[in-house]
């Protein structure tokens, strides 16, 4: 892909979401542990059982991986979820959304450099849905980009050396809009992802972030169904999606 191009998927909504990394489990030698799940789910169960060396499973309700993890989540023993992690690539999301994501301090981020020129805008659905507003927004974005280019040209004409060219790009982007698209590689453990989904998939006010969080949840439910089984996805009156769990409390 050429620098500056946004992948086509991102035009469709809150940005493309792809799972690109997760944890796998290698059972240790010398311990008689076995379970009916693998990868991160097996590692989490192993860690939970290691606390009491309870490798045998006398209680039917917690003998399966699903039952054991359900119990952990119900009693709030979430620290063992930290042993498994998941990494997402988020493409073409607005900088205003990545700004909110960066507040989640338990995650690790690699973001597209702000000095990297990216054309176009990741506009909210509310603007894209209405032809008149979309037209108005597109014009506004185009004008901002024109100003950016004009200012950048003037600054670069005076610049010499790599540092000054960086400074020029840094200064000119002050005129680009908040909806400027960015990419993010975002890694967190499953406890942090539960917290993230619990906070962000439920906030009715912030549509873009909520839709992103619901898509992340969908992919996490495919990756680790027993860790995210308590979340239910539903549709709001305006057609947007929301997810909630009885085991997630605010803050």
């Amino acid at each position: 892909m050429t620098a500056g191009q946004i992948p086509p998927e991102s035009a469709a909504g809150p940005g493309a979401v792809q799972l690109i990394g997760h944890t796998v489990f290698t059972p240790p030698a010398g311990i008689d542990f076995d379970t009916d799940a693998d990868a991160g789910q097996a590692l989490v169960e192993f860690a939970g059982r290691a606390i009491y060396r309870s490798w045998d499973k006398p209680i039917p309700a917690t003998a399966s991986n699903a039952g054991f993890l359900r119990h952990l989540i119900e009693v709030g023993h979430l620290s063992v979820l930290e042993h498994a992690s998941a990494t997402f690539l988020l493409q073409g999301i607005p900088r205003s959304v990545s700004h909110e994501l960066l507040r989640h301090r338990h995650f690790s981020f690699s973001e597209l450099s702000p000095r990297q020129p990216v054309s176009g805008a990741a506009l909210p659905a509310a603007l894209r849905a209405d032809p008149e507003l979309a037209e108005l927004a597109d014009t506004a974005v185009r004008r901002s980009e024109d100003s950016y280019r004009e200012v950048l040209k003037a600054l670069e004409a005076k610049a010499s050396g790599a540092v000054q060219h960086k400074q020029a790009r840094q200064a000119a982007r002050a005129l680009l809009p908040m909806s400027q698209p960015t990419d993010l590689v975002m890694t967190g453990n499953l406890r942090s992802w539960r917290h993230f989904v619990g906070m962000r998939a439920t906030d009715p006010a912030d549509v873009e972030l909520r839709e992103l969080a619901v898509e992340v949840l969908r992919q996490l439910q495919a990756l680790a169904p027993n860790v995210f089984a308590d979340f239910r996805i539903s549709e709001l009156a305006d057609g947007s999606m929301l997810a909630a769990s009885p085991h997630v409390r605010d803050a």
Copy 2:
């Protein structure tokens, strides 16, 4: 101050920086500890001595607070600096700068809500310094604000209820520029502030953030001179400031 107004200082540069919180020390009963500094500096020395219960000071080089803290910093025993913290109010900084600040995960932040309407722009010095560019930038910002208001009006006309009005403001701000001003209350311990200054006051490329970091350093040197004594502030060829210490290594 009325909502939406930027304090006049912020017009002058990278935003106003004010120290609004710091740690004070209450000597504990029953321990014969005394030193020639107070507040956070005394607390840090106390914690450093508590590790060996070394309340007497047989070595002249580390008998003063300045000498003791210099030694800690030279040998890299920085964890004791975590006991003292400092809080800054940063007013009128561009959202693009607060975006970079949020990456520093060891700090605590309270930021002006993005749904709070703020007029004007916190433009980089490179744009403000040149009358033609300043004119061009001001026009671009004004146009973006006009688009913001037009879109907001259209969205609010269709909105009902508090949530939909929040959504309207959220969507419309996609058109505001990256230089939109914001305020930040930012708290960190002195180890984190040393790390922050070491990374940000030295990067030649990012002028706005560097000038902010140098101003933070100046105020930290007034608050806790013995903790920041090794940083030297100097002027670059372009008139901007930079700070560095022999005891700060990259990353």
Copy 3:
């Protein structure tokens, strides 16, 4: 105080607890903010209001510092509590208790070096309360200390140089009991302290840690009553204390 001596208070129970550091507030210039509390409580309120620049106080229920902080805690908006911190000196606590404290990763710790010789033991109340058990425990501790000294003597006889003497002390302490006393300087922000108290002042099983957490809570309620007003301290059937809040949820 001479190295190796435990302050007399620590003989009485779970170790002496003293508040030795906290955050103070300096109102910034240029903002018309005033409140009826000071120090950390005022800083937290300031940060909470900065998010909306809501310096005027139209709603009576949140016009006072107590009312504003009560509201923050009720709605779970706890991140602003991170701007104020508190530091405790814990003296003469058992290493087994400091082991549990170290699990709280949001705190900063300076602990008495394990190579620092400390005599005596910080025994649990259950042992101290019964004369026969106390006698038995004292004998056991004395014997462990005798073994420690014998082994240390043998190792030091063979050691040469500072490193080998450190290694000798390190190896010999393998024989000292888990109740070996230690000191800890422990710093955290008020959000972390609420979380700590919420987890540790409520666990019926771990008496020593619970009593320590209740004493920490008492001193935090004196320091910042509006931040800890929702915690109630009560006495259990066995005479030990417990604290709980309706706003603290498990995990």
Copy 4:
């Protein structure tokens, strides 16, 4: 394995070390990225390139995964290492060593419950190596365990209910030695593991922890050779191992 038994390997030294979890990489659709490594190493390279969307590799020195990661480490751009993690099971290590491990706050831990009865001791090599000291230590440990059992029996005779039995075990273990064995599941990202190895594999004073860190390094070098290539393992005069890297600075 029956509760209370230590696996035979742990008798041999600083405890058994086994890698039981790590990150794998799934290349995203729509991006033309390819490399000559897989799993965590590929994910780290992907994240590093995503910052500039630099999928093509014009510079030979950084065209291979080894070259790209070497460059990241040399320039100190370590945050991208956070996307890949590794989990170790540490069995039969002394509680005094797990105490030091818990200080590393960027890791996630699941430790064997202190209320879980474990017999035997994880004695330092310095004691095990000398027959007379080993005999002396074994006697001391046996005596401590006798006292533990005697006190536990007396406390349990008076206890009623699950909570009081937990309290009895909690109190009695005050008499067990610091060398009491424990197990730990320890997860961290590769940046944290580099920091851990850099601090702990180099400290001449703490032999047990150093040997553990060197063994962790060996397994990390097998898992992700390009991330740990700069560490060299060497033997000290006393036969113990040490590891160091020119790119790791103290603290």
